[in-house]
Structure formats: C-alpha cells, structure tokens
C-alpha cells in the first residue's frame, strides 16, 4: 500500500525574475505533513518563509516541483487551503459577521441552507469568542480581535489545511499569548492540519508538533526539522520549566543564532 503524506511539498524551487536578474529564493524544499499535524516554519526574516506559504496557498506559482494535497497537485488558490494573513485582511466596509459570511456564502452557498449558513457563521465566531462583536466593523475592534475574526473566516471555510502567516506577529505579547491558547484549543478540538509561519521561537515550540527550520536566503533550504514530543493539551505555565520544552527551544535557538545566524542587517 503506497503511503503518501496529506500535504506534500515536492522538490519545490522558487525564483523571482525581475528584468534580466533572477533571484533564487527557495531551493529544493521537500516536506510532508500528516493530517492533523501542526507544523511551524521558522527562519530569519527574508529567508522566504512567507513565499513558501504563498506557494502552498497557490497565491504564487512554483518555479519547479509541486504541492500535493491528498496526492493531487494544487497550483491555484482555493478555500481548501485557507490563509490567516499577518495583517488580518478583513474587509473594512463589512461587519465582523459579514466578513465571515462572504466566505461561508461562497464555500457553502450550494450545499447549506440560509439558516444553516447563519448557524455555521455563528458557530465559528463562537469558536474564536467573537460572537459578541458580530455587528462591529473591523475599525471598531482591537488588533487581537481582528485576528480572531480572520481565524474564524479561515476556519469557516472548513479548509483541509489551515495556513497561518505570522498570525500573531503584529500583536502585543499578552494578546499574542491569549490568541495562541485559543489556537491550541481549536486545534485540539477540530484536529486541523496547520502550517504556520513564525519567527518566534517560543511560539513555535509551544504550538507545533514539528518545527521546520529554514536556512538563510538566497536559495533558502530546509536546514533541520525538529520533532516536539510534548503531550497535548499543553499548558504554557507548566511548560516554562519542562525539560523537553527547554531542550527543543535550545535546539531552535542554536540553529537560528549559531549555525545560521542572520548575517545581513534586517
């Protein structure tokens, strides 16, 4: 019986051409992700990790290789690979409810009745604890709340893979911790397959089953893949002194700051 990973990145190269100069961003990226797995990609800024996420999302075309989802090639964007963008990307003229509704109507317009779709929207807003603000506009809620709504919009598409592009990057530390806990709880409950981009070592160790560490660009590769053998559900406070946690954290830090320390000024 041939086994294949749920999501497979198969020998992906990516280069950008501008005029006559060609810049190689990613080189020979091969990675398999199992169903229900939470995988983080970590690396210094400019190493191409966001580009990699955009390739999986289909927002950018690959230069070579392919992305396989359930052993089928995907090369254009779709709701089966919902993205939570770094800066939330909510539509400012729509309410919180309408922002989720636009996704639900598009994905389930043909299969769910109006009432079912309403219930589904409210269910997802409840999941991220934002049902109370359903009639507010994005400008009226905080950054963390916007990110929650962005997450609800992505979850509401019932994606096969949830792609998180530095979802907590623009938030303050307390809000970030709170939102990380929410994401962990949702992942625990729904068993989503998640691919997350981050530059935060603690975040990567706390949330992930595996951490993919990228070397510096140009032509960035996967430097090392670290398993995080911590039991779930994970508790932030209990893990602070946990030996496995600290060891994992140490490994990532060593990779980022000793072996592949950032050479250019950011």
């Amino acid at each position: 019986m041939p086994t294949f990973p749920y999501l497979k990145l198969d020998h992906i190269d990516k280069s950008f051409t501008r005029g006559t100069t060609e810049t190689e961003v990613l080189k020979d990226i091969t990675l398999g992700i199992e169903k229900g797995e939470y995988v983080s990609i970590i690396g210094h800024s400019g190493c191409g990790k966001s580009t990699l996420l955009n390739l999986v999302a289909g927002l950018l075309p690959v230069s070579a290789g392919c992305v396989l989802l359930e052993n089928k090639e995907v090369n254009e964007p779709g709701p089966d690979r919902a993205v939570v963008f770094q800066n939330h990307s909510l539509l400012p003229w729509l309410t919180v409810y309408a922002n989720v509704k636009i996704a639900v109507d598009k994905v389930f317009g043909g299969t769910k009745s109006r009432q079912e779709r309403h219930d589904w929207i409210m269910h997802n807003l409840d999941l991220v604890q934002m049902a109370h603000a359903k009639d507010k506009r994005p400008a009226e809620i905080s950054g963390g709340m916007k990110q929650r709504v962005g997450l609800a919009r992505a979850l509401a598409m019932e994606p096969k893979v949830l792609l998180l592009d530095e979802p907590f990057g623009a938030l303050d530390a307390l809000t970030r911790a709170h939102l990380q806990d929410s994401v962990m709880a949702i992942h625990q409950k729904l068993g989503n397959t998640v691919l997350m981009i981050t530059h935060d070592v603690d975040e990567a160790v706390l949330l992930s089953d595996r951490i993919v560490m990228m070397t510096n660009g140009p032509a960035a590769r996967i430097g090392e893949i670290l398993d995080v053998p911590l039991q779930r559900p994970r508790k932030r406070l209990a893990l602070a002194g946990d030996a496995i946690y600290l060891k994992c954290r140490q490994r990532v830090l060593e990779f980022l700051y000793e072996r592949h320390h950032f050479v250019e000024a950011a």
């Binding site: 999302a57 289909g58 964007p77 993205v83 963008f85 400012p92 003229w93 636009i102």
Partner: protein, 297 residues
C-alpha cells in the same frame, strides 16, 4: 441618645425624596449647556458669512445707486424680480415660465447626463484600473480628451444628434465623465493586495470580485470623482443651454440679457449658485453614508 435616633430617621427618609431631584437636576443642566454649546457652534458658522454678506450688499448698493451705474443695486434687483421670487411656478406657455420650471429642466438634463457619466465612468475606470493593457491604450487618450472644454463638444454633438436636448445631455456626460474615470482607476489600482488575496482564496469570480471587493474598496476614490463631476456638470449646463435654447436656466439668463433685464440675470445667478451648492452637498452626503467604515482600517 436623641441625636443618633434623629440622624437615622433623616438618613432613612432622605434618599427617597432628594433622589428624584438629583436625578432630574443633572439631566437638565447638560441639556441646557449642550443647547447653548450647539447655538454657539451654529453662530460661529453663521454669523461671519452673514456679516460679510451684509457688508457686500451695502457696498454694492452704494456703488450702483449713483446715476449712470451700469448694474442695478440690490434694492432694485429685489424690486424688479419680486414677482419671479414669490411665484416661481407660473407657466404662461412657451418659454414664459417661472424659475422653478427653468431650474427643473436644467436639473433634469444634468441628472440624465450625470447618471450616464457615473455609470460609464465607473465601468471604464474599473477597466483602466484593472487591466494594464487597457490603461496603456486608453489613459493617454483620456488625458488628452479631458482637457477639451465642454462647450467645444456642443457643435459636434449637435451635428451628431441634430437636436438640442440630447446634445446638452451629451455635453454634461462628456464633462462629468473624466474625473469619474480617472478617480475610479486610481482607486482600483490602490486596492491592497490583501483584498485581492482574500478574493483569490475564496475563488470569487470576476463579477463577485467587482461588486464585493472592487467597488467598496475604491468607493472613497469613486466618490471624489463623482463630486468633482457634479460640480463640472452644473458649470457646463448653463453655458450649453445658452446655446441650445429652450426651457432651462441657461437660456433664461441669455433671454434676460437680450431683453436687458439685468436684475433677472442676478437673481438667476444666485439660484444657480445655491442649487450648485446643494448638489455638491447631496453627493458629499451620499459619499459619507456609502463609504462609512471604508477609509479606516
């Protein structure tokens, strides 16, 4: 021993009665102060223009009251045009109608020409904003055509339509369309990549993308164009009507000039100014309502 008893009694009886007084009292004062503050704010905006207007009228009166003055003073304007002011609705057939009818004929032409310009302008602007090739092909032509003065189009449109009414409407259309096209195109080009990515992930089709993302995202720009457009249309209508004749405020002014009714011209100018101001306010108000929440992110 007596003192504490008294105290408790008063303490018990007090809260019920004065509570009512207290509840009403704080409500009263803010209303009064708020009304006063609002009256002040209104006065700040109203008093200066009224004063300037009064001084202007006074100077005008003094300048034009002398014998041999070419223009009538305001008192004579009021006297001459009193009939037109009090009865704007008379209709003695032909072109001898009240100012209301002239105004409404002009407004109808503007409404038609402007509505067409808005629809076509937004669509063409979207095309130019969305497609690089359309921009390369059309933008230089638009940049040249938009500098053609509105009235220069009139002889050509008269030749094409052979009728005054559609020609006037065409002149309004061609006057108002350029700012709508250009602003819409800029608005479309400035749609953040994030919104486009959201649309791609959702697989919105072209039509859904147009009315769910593009139009709302570009609305502030589109309304800037629409507001410039309404001003230009109103500028052009008077000149166009002077040339095509028929019922309309432009022709009314030209007719008054031919009959040397200078006071009537002045009255018409005041009306044209006021209506132009109101049109601008209407589009501005529509913009505030429609683009609510769009600007802030």
């Amino acid at each position: 021993m007596n003192m504490p008893v008294l105290k408790t009694e008063t303490a018990v009886s007090f809260p019920t009665t004065p509570a009512k007084v207290l509840a009403i009292a704080p409500r009263k004062t803010p209303v009064a102060t708020r009304a006063l503050a609002r009256a002040k704010a209104v006065a700040v905006n109203v008093v200066p223009p009224v004063v300037v207007l009064a001084i202007g009228l006074l100077v005008w009166e003094l300048l034009c009251r002398k014998a041999g003055a070419t223009l009538p003073p305001p008192s004579k304007v009021l006297n001459d045009t009193w009939e037109l002011i009090v009865d704007p609705f008379f209709d003695r057939g032909g072109l001898d109608k009240g100012l209301f009818w002239h105004m409404s004929a002009s407004l109808q032409r503007v409404a038609l020409g402007y509505a067409l310009a808005s629809i076509v302008g937004v669509l063409l602007g979207t095309l130019v904003g969305q497609s690089t090739w359309a921009m390369r092909g059309l933008d230089p032509i638009f940049q040249v055509l938009r500098t053609v003065p509105p009235l220069a189009w009139l002889p050509l449109s008269l030749a094409a339509f052979r009728n005054g009414q559609p020609s006037a409407i065409f002149v309004i259309f061609i006057t108002a369309i350029w700012p709508v096209i250009i602003n819409t195109a800029v608005g479309i080009r400035n749609i953040p990549q994030d919104y486009r990515n959201v649309a791609k992930v959702l697989r919105l089709n072209q039509l859904e993308f147009f009315y769910k993302i593009m139009v709302p995202a570009a609305a502030p720009y589109i309304f800037t164009g629409l507001r410039i457009g309404i001003g230009l249309s109103w500028l052009a209508i008077v000149a166009a009507e002077m040339l095509i004749g028929g019922v309309g405020i432009g022709f009314f002014i030209w007719d008054a000039w031919n009959s040397s009714h200078i006071s009537e011209i002045i009255l018409a100018l005041i009306y044209v100014g006021l209506v132009g101001f109101i049109l601008d306010r209407i589009v501005a108000a529509a913009a505030t309502i429609v683009t609510r929440g769009t600007a802030a992110n």
